[in-house]
Amino acid sequence: MIILGLILLGPFVVIAAVLGARFLEWQRLLPAGLPRFTPLCLIASGLLGSLLAGDTLEAFVASPIRLQRHFAGAVYLSPLALQSVERSGFQDPGTTWTYTLDDETLRALRARCKVQRSFPGQPEYCNMGSDFDERYYAGMGISGRATLVIEEGLH
């Protein structure tokens, strides 16, 4: 997904970097003595870095907070409690966030969820809510003893 994004964004980033470096040079906004291609490379990698960092912060911070508010009515877990994130899919993108719960948060969330039947050998799943339509899905629940799973995507 990230590689595809880089390939698609690459030409635009290079063009923006060339124009930006030219503009800064023309306006004499670059420090004297800077090696020739350094501003161009810095602007290109800075633009890419900004886009990637923005995407990462959106995926790690903003989206889980939005889904926690939607399904649990409040934000119970900070982004630093995030254990893993799995992003997948080209045509049907989906993201799964996994958090390890401490005892206090587990008790608070357990009071808001409904245990679902699970197949023998599979961990118990306590559902906190889910949204489905023909294209979109999202859900949140406690899997096993102390793992909060939030998922969202297209199908």
Binding site: A32, S45, G46, T56, F60
Partner: protein, 69 residues
């Protein structure tokens, strides 16, 4: 004056961006096992260090020129 201030802020601004990218990238590496952002942050910091050397060399040459002239 404003130009000189903006020119002198060019490398520190990118160094700050590099540190932010590296920090977020290391978090991403831990949580999602993706190295792209951390590598990008490292490249920005290396480019800043490379640029810094050029700027310092130019300043040194200018100072030598002034002292000699």
């Amino acid at each position: 004056m404003l130009r000189a201030v903006l020119a002198s802020a060019f490398l520190p601004a990118f160094a700050l961006l590099g540190v932010v990218c590296l920090a977020v990238g290391l978090w991403q590496l831990q949580v999602e096992s993706s190295v792209v952002l951390a590598v990008n942050g490292g490249i920005i910091l290396l480019l800043c260090a490379h640029g810094w050397r050029g700027v310092r060399a130019a300043r040194g040459a200018k100072r030598c020129g002034e002292a000699g002239g």
